[in-house]
């Protein structure tokens, strides 16, 4: 269970980015690779805890799952892996470890609102 540590990293990164822009963050968009070693459901639960009373309290974590994509040496093309249990090209069956995508653990966007300026 390292999801809480990861969630705290996400909150820290998003808080920093929000403060730098002078905006309030209402949602964090995360790309989560199937090979990241992080469990999505556990991460989403941990996120609420990690927000605590930080500036991100009440914000949402929106997770985009990134499947593993391999470069098949035979088809010479990117292919999406069907199962983590079998690192073979789904079309021709060639085994490969040429991983193109699937290890992502990346905050890629924030939904933000401008802070209200007191008149």
């Amino acid at each position: 269970m390292h999801e809480l540590a990861i969630a705290m990293g996400i909150v820290e990164a998003a808080t920093e980015e929000g403060q730098r822009r002078g905006v309030r963050v209402s949602a964090v968009h995360l790309r989560l690779g199937a090979l990241s070693g992080v469990v999505k459901d556990a991460l989403v639960s941990a996120y609420q805890v990690a927000c605590g009373d930080s500036p991100l309290a009440g914000s949402r974590l929106i997770v985009e799952d990134v499947p593993v994509v391999i470069l098949c040496p035979k088809c010479k093309d990117d292919k999406t892996l069907i199962s983590l249990q079998s690192f073979t090209c789904p079309d021709c069956g060639t085994p490969t470890m040429n991983i193109v995508r699937g290890k992502e653990l990346e905050v890629f966007a924030l939904e933000v609102e401008d802070e209200e300026v007191p008149r």
Binding site: H2, R21, G37, Q85, L110, E113
Partner: protein, 226 residues
């Protein structure tokens, strides 16, 4: 009226760890020390293998070890019997080692006085896979008593490791370990993965494993000083 809008940021959540791991890797390369980390579930025999290999390597090589554990220092005490310098990293409740912990634990050690540094991760087949420690080689251990399907249950840790080591081979017959099934499953989650099969208790397979480490050390140094 406040309008929500989307801004692109693109930040790797583990960037801090990756930056430290990269710095460590450069430091290890410059010092000429070959760093081997070990991951496995609890009780797979990481400490037993380490005790054996530290003892076996010592007449010829300068070796040291860092050992991660949740609460106790028992592993460090066991490894100290090999007479190699050993430091314990107690992680508290944390289920894995991070690059910063390795960096802190190495303070004061003269890495250029070492040939091998071993890092024993916390016994866990999930969390360590996310964290690069700057190692040159990651071993994933699996004991014959755990059965053959660990690779299918934990593909990510096998995927993030370089070499698999089947341990406690002296018990293989007693637990009817199906070597061919294990081999196929490892191959399925990580095509081309090299596998060692050994017993730290009887010494079976240990010489081959040591020869492999010696070869990797030589390659590591050739790369550093071509």
């Amino acid at each position: 009226m406040r309008e929500p809008r989307l801004v692109e940021v693109r930040r790797n959540v583990l960037k801090q760890n990756d930056v430290i791991a990269r710095a460590l890797r450069e430091q290890f390369q410059a010092a000429g020390v070959f760093v081997v980390s070990l991951v496995s579930s609890p009780g797979s025999g990481k400490t037993a293998l380490l005790e054996k290999i530290l003892t076996q390597l010592q007449p010829q090589y300068r070796v040291a070890a860092l050992v991660g554990d949740l609460a106790t220092e028992n592993d460090a005490i066991r490894l100290a019997r090999s007479k190699a310098p050993v430091r314990q990293i107690t992680t508290g409740t944390l289920c894995h080692l991070e690059a910063a912990m390795v960096q802190r634990a190495l303070q004061g050690w003269e890495l250029n006085q070492l040939d091998y540094l071993f890092i024993e991760n916390v016994g866990n087949l999930v969390c360590p896979s996310s964290y690069d420690l700057g190692e040159g080689l990651r071993l994933v251990l699996m004991s014959v008593t755990e059965g053959e399907d660990k690779p299918l249950k934990y593909p990510t840790i096998f995927n993030s490791s370089d070499v698999a080591v089947i341990t406690k081979n002296e018990l293989a017959a007693a637990v009817e370990f199906d070597w061919e099934a294990a081999r196929q499953r490892i191959e399925s989650v990580r095509p081309g993965m090299q596998i060692f099969r050994l017993s730290a208790k009887t010494g079976e397979g240990m010489q081959g494993f040591q020869d492999f480490l010696a070869q990797r050390l030589a390659e590591h140094r050739a790369l550093a000083h071509p």
